[in-house]
């Protein structure tokens, strides 16, 4: 094994890799070395763009799934409540007060009232989670 040749080669690498003072032209030197600089930039940018898009899609799917789970949980909680409790809770909700500005709870069906409360509860939970993160 010719260690001497390896040492000489490495010393030559050290010498040639040391950029002359003031020089900052990596791209030109890389191109002279046969390195495909622009091709690498294009490929990496494309890879990063695709990964970013995949991440956005993943995040949107995750948020949609979480929203669906929140809505189901709120529906279940409201279904377990009596109508009187539903009306009582709605009276304390600003969103419900706006909804009932032009009508009274008596004008709505029980299903409307339960859906409204479940929507409000799911939205509140979503806001609370957003604040936590």
């Amino acid at each position: 094994m010719n260690r001497d040749a390896l040492g000489k080669w490495c010393r030559l690498q050290d010498f040639l890799n040391a950029a002359p003072e003031g020089a900052n032209d990596e791209a030109a030197r890389l191109t002279a070395e046969g390195v495909d600089v622009q091709g690498t930039v294009d490929r990496v940018k494309e890879m990063v763009r695709k990964a970013y898009q995949a991440d956005l899609r993943e995040q949107a799917a995750r948020e949609q799934s979480e929203a669906s789970a929140r809505a189901q949980a709120a529906d279940a909680r409201v279904a377990a409540m009596s109508l009187a409790d539903v009306v009582q809770m709605l009276r304390s909700q600003a969103a419900a007060l706006a909804f009932f500005r032009d009508k009274s709870p008596d004008e709505c069906s029980e299903q409307d009232l339960r859906s409204l409360l479940a929507d409000i509860m799911a939205a509140e939970e979503s806001d609370a989670e957003a604040e936590d993160t």
Binding site: L12, Q13, D14, E26, R29, G34, V44, R49, D55, L56
Partner: protein, 189 residues
């Protein structure tokens, strides 16, 4: 992957970052061949490092390491080591080794070291041959191979003006590249 990481990577200035990373990879590879084991190139190593920033064992954590370039450099180091590529780190480890036992111990961790030494011999001979007749370049190369690495020292030794040594440094760099390209097409080394 956290979306914040994806967004930061997406917004990174790759046009300026990648040439620096490619240069870093290239100047950290000391194998005397343009293509690395497995037919890889410096470009492949850098691309793999960026891919690892998104996932896997070298995922970027901007809280622990806010400097993306430093993170990717460290990933490049890790890839070079894991693939058994003879790089700057390995050169630093053996450059002052005198003890044969220590050398053997290093060689046992580098099964291809014999091939790398052989390639170095072939490339150096081809480089010397390619500049035969160019007195200045030959003098410069001989000085470097003897261990002189400072342009001012070389200028003193060879009596070539130091500004000219810098020019010759670039010329020799181009010759090295040409020789490696030529050997690559002839499958040597």
């Amino acid at each position: 992957m956290g979306s914040d990481v994806a967004r930061r990577l997406h917004e990174a200035d790759w046009d300026s970052l990648l040439p620096r990373l490619l240069w870093y990879a290239l100047t950290n590879i000391y194998e005397p061949a343009r293509l690395l084991p497995g037919g890889r190139s410096a470009e492949d190593i850098v691309q793999e490092a960026v891919a690892k920033a998104f996932s896997g064992d070298r995922k970027w954590d901007p809280v622990r390491q806010p400097d993306l370039e430093a993170h990717l450099r460290s990933t490049i180091d890790s890839i070079l080591s894991s693939k058994g590529i003879f790089g700057l780190k390995e050169w630093k480890a053996v450059r002052n080794v005198e003890d044969p036992g220590e050398w053997e111990s290093f060689a046992s961790r580098f099964p291809n070291l014999g091939g790398i030494c052989h390639d170095a011999e072939v490339v150096l001979a081809a480089l010397q041959e390619s500049i035969r007749g160019d007195r200045e370049l030959s003098d410069l190369l001989e000085a470097v191979l003897e261990g002189f690495d400072k342009p001012r020292e070389i200028a003193e030794l060879t009596e070539i003006p130091v500004e000219r040594v810098y020019e010759l440094q670039r010329k020799l760099e181009r010759r090295r590249s040409e020789v490696l390209k030529k050997l690559e097409t002839t499958d040597e080394p």
